[in-house]
């Protein structure tokens, strides 16, 4: 029994010492020329936690198509197929118009659990945090979105605010904003007194 405790303890001490060496090694980065002489030794900046890391943003439910979520309703019994291919049996209505040459479904959707999304780092996130997925490429937009400058934030200017997910305005598969029909033009001043009998505005 006693020996067992000592063994454990020495193992722990050894591990800690090894860890310290690894951490020290990681802190300093050395660069050699081709003859093997040290030319530069740099201290690597430690990974700092961002101030907003871990904060979640109040968003409404993601804008799923009707009766499509949870995806596991259909996908639970299906054998996941990681093969890059054109979909023919289902989801053929989705036309990818978003860097389509470079990516396909499973670059964002999680192969192992379709009810979630997957970051490049391998981290699995729920659909309510999809802004992190978009922010992998569109970091500048994510930064603006967090402070309320990109996208629409509603609620109170000096109180609680509600965000919208990227997907509420941009279709993730075809993200450019779609044109809208404008509301009627104002009445021209010369027609103001005839406004009652004014004909419906015509498109020009």
């Amino acid at each position: 029994m006693k020996i067992y405790v000592w063994r454990c303890l020495s193992l722990a001490i050894g591990l800690v010492a090894f860890g310290a060496v690894v951490v020290y090694a990681a802190e300093v980065e050395k660069y050699f020329d081709r003859h093997g002489t040290l030319i530069v030794q740099e201290k690597v900046e430690k990974y700092k936690r961002r101030a907003d890391e871990g904060t979640t943003y109040p968003v409404p439910p993601p804008p799923f198509s009707e009766d499509i979520f949870p995806c596991s309703d259909c996908h639970a019994d299906m054998e996941p197929n990681p093969q890059r291919r054109e979909l023919v049996d289902m989801h053929e209505d989705i036309v990818l118009n978003h860097a389509e040459g470079q990516r396909w479904c499973l670059d964002c959707h999680n192969l192992d659990d379709r009810d979630t999304l997957r970051l490049i780092s391998g981290e699995v996130i729920p659909f309510t945090e999809s802004y992190r997925l978009c922010g992998q490429c569109h970091g500048d937009k994510l930064r603006d979105w967090k402070v309320g400058v990109h996208g629409k934030r509603t609620g109170f200017w000096n109180g609680e605010k509600q965000y919208l997910l990227c997907a509420h305005c941009h279709n993730p598969h075809s993200p450019s904003f779609k044109p809208l029909q404008p509301m009627p033009a104002p009445v021209r001043p010369e027609n103001l007194d005839r406004q009652g009998s004014q004909a419906a505005p015509t498109h020009n």
């Binding site: 402070v147 309320g148 400058v149 109180g159 809208l180 404008p182 033009a185 104002p186 009445v187 007194d193």
Partner: protein
Amino acid sequence: MCNESSHDKHAFRKSRRKVLKGLAAGIGALALPATNASASVWEAFFQKNFRELNKTELNQVLARLEGEYSKEYGKQVTVKATLPIEGVKYGYGLDLSRCIGCRRCVYGCVEENNQSREPEIQWIRVMQLDKEKGVDLSHAEHYYNPPEVPQEGKFYMPVQCQQCENPPCTKVCPVQATWKENDGIVVVDYNWCIGCRYCMAACPYSARHFNWAKGKLPKEEMNPDTHYLGNRPRPVGVVEKCTFCIQRTREQPGRYPACAEVCPVGARKFGNMLDPKSEIRYLIENKRVFIFKEDLNTQPKFFYFYAT
């Protein structure tokens, strides 16, 4: 003889003065609405400038107006006179790289602020401009009406009251019926305005609008949450303008202005310029910003910016 005639003349003069006085008083009395003279009409007639009202007088005025409007529109209307919030100066940002010119803001504003539907009054005017020419007003088109916006090669610039720090409109008012509040909002006392329209001539942004007739405002569309200096129904013959939705933004917590809330592209930003963490400060510090007609030194608190 001579003495007598001068006495006569004097006597005549005196009586003429009396006649004129009587006549003036009589005409004056006729001009007052004596026929349907309810107490409230007399109270309105003798009401002081908003800034000279003491607390009891203000409460009487608000109660009188609430009664009038509730009766006219057939629902409970509240008229607030919420004061500016300490340490707040409002600023507005509009992202020209996002605006698509859909005019949702124009109609959102009309609904929130009880503008007259006929004759039509709109506090926001959206201009369609050529991307090639930039902000060149000689090429601005207000009446664009294509089936879809944005149009190729065009950009859109909504203009409303710029809430100037140095407002030319308030300086020209001969009766001081319009002024800048401590939170930066330029307001009008509709009960004090005489309708001379000097302020409209002075405003370089065409942001002020005149009630040529008693505005038609359908009862069911009337917004009963009103502010004395903001969206309460306006009488005929007064000038009105955007107030950054004073009835919403002065509350604690205060909602965003209606135009910002309704914008489908999120181009409109609003906040406290004295709060370093507000979105308005962020965009002024980090984005390309310009103010409209900067050379006039009006110092608008309405910032156009490009987020990209």
